[in-house]
Symmetry: C2
């Protein structure tokens, strides 16, 4: 069984991509609504919450854990990986998007949008610098020697998406405002560094134009897991395959069901648990 967790609903966009690619696997999803949004917590508190969630999923029998939240992947992944030491494997959604963006960028101008927590952590910058030498092979003759990352915090997008204002004029105005500095910087690749943002992908694509490649961390994480399984057939063999899906939430099941439908595109029932 694969365990996936997030502070609420956003991680369901990651799960949606997984279900498309691996519908046969068993999945357990944990939405830690009681502590949402993760972006407003300190690093220490986030570490504590992430360890609690991993403990819960491991105790329920998950053999592979996906932290389907950029803020938690940015801040707490290393911490929890150090505690579990590979048993089970714990993966985030940040590195796959970074790898993908480095492969895609034509001349090295990469943008990333995320919550304030994700952007302030500077995690995308650190990971870009780490993987750049291996993966940055620009194809354009105007290309930079080394990648330049333009970061933009977009704290209002999560509440707008959760209010269902996907196509509203105000959302378009706020998006344009957030994306203007990135457009002015002529980025050729944009990472959607928050699991809520795929719901705004159409509008973001429209604003950024066809010359800017959009990378959703949900899609990137799903492709990355394919190559991970190739290199780790032992982990792949641990995953049970009955197409079973179980959902847990740490708070209000009604809201979980309501928003879950919007994010996953199907009706889900989350059992409430205390963690």
């Amino acid at each position: 069984m694969i365990g996936i967790f997030d502070s609420g609903f956003g991680g369901l966009t990651v799960m949606k991509e997984y279900l498309k690619k691996y519908p046969e696997f068993d999945y357990m999803y944990l939405g830690d609504q009681a502590n949402m949004p993760y972006g407003s917590h300190s690093k220490e508190r986030l570490n504590k919450l992430v360890v609690q969630n991993v403990d819960f999923l491991v105790n329920k029998g998950c053999k592979l854990i996906i932290i389907a939240c950029n803020t938690a992947s940015a801040d707490a992944l290393r911490h929890v990986q150090n505690i579990y030491k590979g048993n089970p494997t714990i993966l985030g959604v940040l590195v796959p998007a970074v790898e993908n963006s480095l492969k895609e960028t034509r001349f090295g101008n990469i943008g990333v949008i995320g919550t304030r927590g994700t952007i302030n952590s500077n995690a995308y910058k650190r990971e870009i610098e780490k993987y750049e030498n291996d993966l940055y092979k620009p194809t354009d003759k105007r290309a930079r020697e080394s990648v330049k990352l333009y970061q933009q915090a977009c704290p209002l997008l999560v509440p707008l998406v959760e209010e269902g204002l996907i196509k509203a004029t105000v959302t378009r105005m706020i998006l344009k405002n957030y994306l203007r500095p990135l457009k002015n910087a002529h980025i050729d690749t944009l990472i959607l560094g928050c699991t809520h943002y795929p719901l705004l992908q159409k509008e973001i694509t429209r604003i950024m134009g066809k010359n800017c490649k959009i990378i959703s961390s949900a899609q990137a994480a799903t492709y990355a897991i394919g190559s991970y399984f190739e290199n780790h057939p032992d982990v792949l063999n641990l995953i049970t395959r009955n197409g079973k899906r179980t959902y847990y939430t740490t708070d209000c099941p009604e809201r979980f069901a309501d928003l879950g439908k919007r994010f996953l595109g199907e009706v889900i029932v989350g059992e409430k648990v205390e963690i």
Copy 2:
């Protein structure tokens, strides 16, 4: 000492009004940032958090507790009052605003705006019905026999205020959109049922027009405490008066300082505590 708490910063608008009226009292403010926003919790969880906060303030020596959060006043005040049975006295910010609105309304059309949690709780409706017979004395000949309450959830206003977008065009658009049904219903009195909203009061007043009386629960609560003290001189005598102010936060002190300044209008330092 008076203890005041909220899920974060909004309660500081209540404290600001208290400080204007009673600068000599000692105050202790607790911002439960780790669990913000309260509007996204279930009733059970909110009850638990509120009891924890009251315990903390009582153990620190507070003799009067103000729940400076509408969601918590709506959902959890009775619960925690039943536990403490008047020792210490625990007051909310909801009833004072209801009383004030019933005294002010000219023909019985009252509106209330708040978070989804506050509005869904239906607490304003319950309290209006409870106090209406005693306090509703309409002055206009078009007056209704009994009060009609128009409720409007405004979940985006808190994030907009916390982003500092007080005067932004998008905020004005979103406000107009939220307030339109209330304007169309010809309300003559509007309760700002969330402690963040006083920061938007100017714009709300501009949209609603001069014929609509705006009632901030922060101001109403401060006036209410005056008559409470008149009837309970024993409680008044318990409050120490050295003009001392202590601030605690359950998470990120930097953000507490940053937003605290915006809400209270002065620089504050919050000590981080685990509750």
